[in-house]
Every structure is written in structure tokens, then in C-alpha cells.
């Protein structure tokens, strides 16, 4: 088990869902200046091959639907990092009519990065923290989604039409 966790936490494949302005901090994080590849984290193109979903910023209702679909396609164990204050409480969009406020009502979040927008140092810091959490077996938010599936679906149904959006017909 320990070996599994070690392996998992040191080769995280990340899908970054670049929804908000904070996404501009990712290119420096990925490339040579901050170079997240030295921690075994690489950007991945599809949700089906990634372990980590990085939500960078505000989500409109329209985008949230896509995020939920992407999240449900990811294989377990899967981790979510909410990036920027917009994912915590709406940030500067706290009274916007079409932006969701608390990401954790709709999908479970392991870790938040505070700030508007967080610098690459903060992102690297969060990756290291996530690695630590996986090693200790604390990053279990994906289990919450399976156990409380109904609750998450109920919350999602409050903002969009879950039936119409689901893949099963």
C-alpha cells in the first residue's frame, strides 16, 4: 500500500480546467522557471488519463456542467484542487447571477489555494501539500463523492438540469 501511495503521489497527471483569469499563472508553473515536472506532475489532455483536476478560477453554470462531466470521467483515486478565491466563495463574483460560489457544493475538493490570483510558488506549494496528503492517506475527497452522491446531485440540480445533462439515456 505504501508503495502504491508513493507511486501515486509522485506521478500526478494533471488536467487543468482553465476557466478563469488565474490560468495565466499555469504556463510559468509548467515551464522552465518553476518547472512542476520535477515533482512528476505533467499536464494531461483528457480527464480519463488524469489524476488531478485543477479548477483555475470562477465557474459559470455553463462551465460547471462540463466540469462535473469531466470529473465523473476521471478514474479513482482522483484529486481536485480549487485554485483562487473564486472557487472558495465566489471571490469578486460573489454577487454575480451566473457564477457558482462554493465549488465544494458540487464536487468534492481536496485542497484550496487562496489568492486572487495565486502565484506559481503557491501552486507548487499546493502540489507538495497534496503529495503529503496522499502519502498520509488524507486526500480522500473522491470517496466523499461516491458516498454522498445523492447530496452532490441534489446540489447540482439546483443550478442546472442534471437529467438533461447526464450521459445515460
Amino acid at each position: 500500500m505504501k508503495l502504491f501511495k508513493f507511486a501515486q503521489s509522485r506521478s500526478l497527471w494533471m488536467m487543468h480546467f482553465c476557466t478563469g483569469c488565474g490560468a495565466v499563472e499555469l504556463p510559468p508553473t509548467m515551464t522552465s522557471r518553476f518547472d512542476m515536472e520535477r515533482f512528476g506532475i505533467i499536464p494531461m489532455a483528457t480527464p480519463r488519463q488524469s489524476d488531478l483536476l485543477l479548477i483555475t478560477g470562477y465557474l459559470t453554470v455553463k462551465t460547471l456542467k462540463r466540469v462535473v462531466r469531466a470529473y465523473e470521467q476521471m478514474p479513482t483515486p482522483r484529486y481536485v484542487i480549487g485554485f483562487g478565491s473564486c472557487t472558495i466563495n465566489g471571490g469578486m463574483y460573489w454577487d454575480s447571477y451566473n457564477v457558482i460560489k462554493k465549488l465544494e457544493l458540487y464536487i468534492p475538493v481536496d485542497l484550496y489555494i487562496n489568492g486572487c490570483m495565486p502565484r506559481p510558488e503557491a501552486i507548487i506549494d499546493a502540489f507538495l501539500k497534496l503529495r503529503e496528503m496522499i502519502d498520509k492517506g488524507e486526500a480522500n475527497a473522491w470517496k466523499k463523492y461516491i458516498e454522498n452522491y445523492e447530496w452532490y446531485k441534489k446540489n447540482q440540480a439546483e443550478v442546472f438540469d442534471v437529467e438533461k445533462w447526464s450521459l445515460k439515456k
Binding site: V61, K62, K65, N89, G90, W94, D95, S96, Y97, N98, I100, K101, K102, L105, N155, E158, V159, F160, D161, K164
Partner: protein
């Protein structure tokens, strides 16, 4: 005579009493037009050289019970904007579509329909555009209560309460720990 004055005079000689034309400033002419004269006006200005349909926007004059639609045209030759503004009734707002004159109006009209609820008669596709699964009144209307909507829909009751009852902490500059 400047270009703006020539355009003003041309519009006035063509449409006479029906429209009131003002030169707002350099490069900008505004024509207050009744609802039924908007399409003839657009057609006239298009053959007069205003080939670019820059913008269609809407203003909600809730106290007068009116929507003001503003059609914004531009001509590269004259370097002049012409704004055609017209007032329509606010409840059951309808307007004939302008896509037969300017195709560009297609998406603008969809947007205005979604954000203000104006029906564009003859428009082939007035369905969901920017918002999805929207229930409730269109969000850009003045009688739409954003904060109430947000509190109910996104579970923000506690947070907004906290934000508005918290005592103001004076900012004492960086490094002062609050």
C-alpha cells in the same frame, strides 16, 4: 460643413420630422427614431455607406416603462458612428428583427432577447445563448434582484449576511496585521 453635419442634414431631409438628429460630439451622430422607422433608417444608412453594424444594445428605463434599443453603425469612409436609438414598451417588448438588413444583428438580438427579454419578430433562432437552464426573469432587467437570486440559488445566505453585518476594519497599511 463637417461630415457629421452633412450626415445630419441628409437624414433630416430624408426622414423629415420623424427623427430628431443630434451631433453628440465629433465622430458621433445620434438619431432618435420611432420604432417603426428603425428598419427604413438602417436600410437607408447602409446604402449611404455605413457598412459596419458595430453593436446593438439595450437600456432599461424602468421608471418610464420603456426599453431603449441602440443600434450602433459605423462607417470607415467617414469615420463616424451613427447611433439609432428607439424606445419600445417595456412589458411584452417586441421589435422587428434587423437581420435582413444587417446579418450581424443575429447574435446581438439573441443576446438582448436573453438578457432583457425583448422578442425580435422574425428572428429564426431565439433560444438559449449565453445562459443555460435559466429560470426567472432576464438578468439585465432593472427589476431583477441579483443579491436575492444569488443567495437563494448558490447557497450564499450566511456569507452575504456576514459580509454586510461585519464591522469595518480600518486598513492600517501593509505589515500591520489588520
Amino acid at each position: 460643413m463637417t461630415v457629421e453635419e452633412t450626415i445630419k442634414k441628409d437624414i433630416e431631409t430624408t426622414f423629415g420630422e420623424l427623427v430628431r438628429v443630434e451631433i453628440e460630439r465629433k465622430h458621433r451622430v445620434r438619431a432618435y427614431t420611432p420604432r417603426n422607422m428603425v428598419l427604413p433608417m438602417l436600410a437607408y444608412l447602409k446604402q449611404r455607406g455605413f457598412h459596419q453594424f458595430t453593436l446593438l444594445t439595450c437600456v432599461d428605463w424602468i421608471k418610464d416603462g420603456k426599453f431603449e434599443l441602440v443600434y450602433n453603425l459605423y462607417s470607415l469612409n467617414y469615420n463616424v458612428h451613427v447611433l439609432i436609438s428607439t424606445k419600445i414598451n417595456r412589458d411584452k417588448a417586441t421589435m422587428p428583427t434587423a437581420i435582413n438588413v444587417y446579418e450581424m444583428a443575429f447574435d446581438y438580438e439573441r443576446e438582448i432577447h436573453e438578457m432583457f427579454g425583448v422578442e425580435f419578430e422574425g428572428h429564426p433562432r431565439l433560444d438559449e445563448f449565453l445562459l443555460e437552464d435559466w429560470k426567472g426573469i432576464p438578468p439585465m432587467r432593472k427589476d431583477f434582484d441579483t443579491r436575492k437570486y444569488v443567495e437563494e440559488k448558490y447557497g450564499m445566505k450566511d456569507l452575504t449576511k456576514e459580509l454586510f453585518t461585519r464591522k469595518e476594519q480600518p486598513y492600517r497599511g501593509p505589515g500591520s496585521n489588520g
